[in-house]
């Protein structure tokens, strides 16, 4: 069984937000909900300051704080390492949201559902069809699922996640600078393991001990 993971090359990233918006389209996310974001910061002082750009998403941690906090078992780690949510079990206590050190979870409630991309002008055809095609359950917590439906469907068709577009997360496909690499952390010969080794991949806030599956290289 693979353990899916991602490497994000911060050196390549130019903060175009393609991942963020592609993810919104892929999952028909309403306004204000993000499964992918770009953190833009600065460090140092003029004239030697530098810009920090970190695209972030759910880290699909091996020892996920959210899974630990979930009182119902709605949030769980799949065999392939993807942290998933069974919305039929979620009571909406948001303990997972509080527990996630990366703040990658969103509570889907009436307020989120009723947002319109063109406020006060009604929902667009896309928003309407999105609610039918990719429905969320009110009162539950949602988050990035590593596009598990793409991975599952793709693998059924014999495709390889990380190599074949149709089996790879949308944010990886869209990245115009190839800053995202997806693959199997358990496969010592995978491209992502090579990058992690060669470029000394770092996990965000490793000290929380959650063992993220997303690594950053620069």
């Amino acid at each position: 069984m693979p353990r899916w993971g991602m490497v994000i090359d911060v050196k390549r990233c130019i903060a175009c937000w393609g991942c963020t918006i592609a993810c919104k389209e892929e999952h028909f996310l309403p306004p204000g909900v993000f499964f992918n974001r770009v953190l833009i910061g600065e460090t140092g002082k003029f004239p030697t300051s530098s810009k920090l750009i970190y695209p972030i998403l759910c880290n699909h941690c091996e020892d996920a704080a959210c899974v630990e906090a979930c009182p119902t078992g709605a949030t769980y780690v799949r065999e392939d390492g993807i942290v998933a949510i069974d919305e039929s079990k979620c009571v909406g206590c948001r303990a997972c949201m509080i527990a996630c050190p990366y703040q990658q979870r969103t509570y889907y409630d009436e307020k989120a559902k009723n947002q319109e991309y063109f406020p006060g002008q009604g929902k667009t055809e896309m928003e309407v069809i999105g609610e039918k095609l990719y429905p969320f359950t009110l009162g539950t917590v949602i988050k990035c699922n590593f596009c598990s439906e793409r991975i599952d469907d793709g693998m059924k068709k014999g495709l390889t996640p990380g190599k074949d577009e149709d089996a790879t997360p949308a944010c990886v496909n869209i990245c115009p600078v190839g800053a995202r690499v997806f693959g199997d952390l358990d496969d010592p010969n995978s491209e992502i393991n090579r990058l992690i080794m060669e470029k000394k991949g770092k996990q965000l806030r490793k000290e929380f001990g959650t063992e993220p599956a997303v690594y950053y290289i620069d």
Binding site: C70, T72, K89, C93, K111
Partner: protein, 301 residues
């Protein structure tokens, strides 16, 4: 065009000190919102009621005072429980929260409350329920419930202001102190002035410990880390500054202190006990509000 700028300023640079600048989200220390903002206030109230109810139950055990455990039991389960349900996104599925006691602090809490509900009910209805064993078990359960809210918050490693052990003494004493104050007031209502007067020594003691624990929490959090320090700093900024000064300074500390001094040595007065209780309730709510509102996450960069 001025209004539009103002709107944008409010979105991007909220000025009340409690908001989050969207571009600083998780880049600077970022405030937790789920457990206090919007529907999150229910959780604040739910924790408060379950805990003070358990506090009252706990204190009533020492006096074998059946009305006290009944009221405590009701506050914890009915007030605390209903408000908890209001908070949940899918309250009909609440039973599922019993599923993960091995990992989830929340799940454990639900179990404890469940056991408390059953055993408490038995203690209430069984004549001679106030025996040593029953009292001991119920006492432990009460203390677990009192510390439940904070215990749930305490396990969150990413929120330094909650994750230190110094929140536990404050959590325990606040439940006991407020529960004791409730009980003293019930005694006032029941006209048992000797009991009211006799309890005052506990009032003074618990207040002193409570006061010290507040100080310990503030001091300890301030010195823990830069991010934790920011939590304390946030209490002194913007709109929260008023809550800190009036809620904590005046209602939680100054008013109870003055009334306790007035009633020193058992010189109690029913009306003053009532006023002190009101002040303590408001003050304790303020402290809990501030602790929840100012918890900030370690930034990611």
């Amino acid at each position: 065009m001025n209004d539009n700028h103002q709107n944008l300023v409010e979105t991007m640079f909220p000025s009340d000190g409690s908001g989050i600048k969207p571009y600083e989200w998780m880049i600077s220390p970022t405030r937790q919102r789920q457990w206090i903002d919007d529907k999150g206030v229910f959780l604040w109230l739910a924790f408060f009621f379950s805990e003070i109810g358990a506090g009252m139950y706990f204190m009533s055990l020492f006096y074998s005072f059946r009305p006290g455990i009944v009221i405590g039991w009701l506050i914890t389960l009915v007030l605390g429980g209903i408000i908890h349900m209001l908070y949940l996104g899918n309250p009909k599925r609440a039973w599922r929260m019993l599923m993960r006691p091995n990992t989830s602090e929340l799940s454990r809490g639900i179990w404890i409350i469940g056991v408390f509900a059953v055993l408490g009910f038995l203690q209430i209805i069984i004549p001679g329920g106030f025996n040593m064993v029953f009292n001991f078990i119920m006492g432990i359960l009460c203390l677990l419930i009192i510390s439940h809210g904070f215990a749930t918050m305490n396990v969150i490693r990413a929120l330094p202001a909650w994750s230190s052990t110094i929140v536990l003494p404050l959590s325990l004493i606040s439940g006991i102190w407020v529960g004791q104050q409730l009980l003293q007031f019930v005694f006032v209502l029941s006209g048992n002035s000797a009991m009211v007067s006799g309890m005052e020594v506990w009032s003074a003691t618990f207040f002193l410990i409570y006061f010290l624990c507040i100080g310990l929490y503030a001091w300890g959090t301030w010195h823990m880390s830069d991010v934790a320090k920011m939590s304390i700093r946030k209490m002194l900024e913007g709109d929260l500054k008023r809550i800190t000064l009036i809620g904590v300074g005046v209602l939680a500390v100054l008013v109870p202190l003055i009334f306790t001094l007035i009633m020193w040595g058992g010189n109690t007065n029913g009306f003053l006990v009532f006023l002190r209780l009101a002040s303590v309730l408001a003050g304790d709510l303020a402290i809990r509000y501030l602790i929840m509102k100012t918890a900030v996450y370690n930034p990611l960069l």
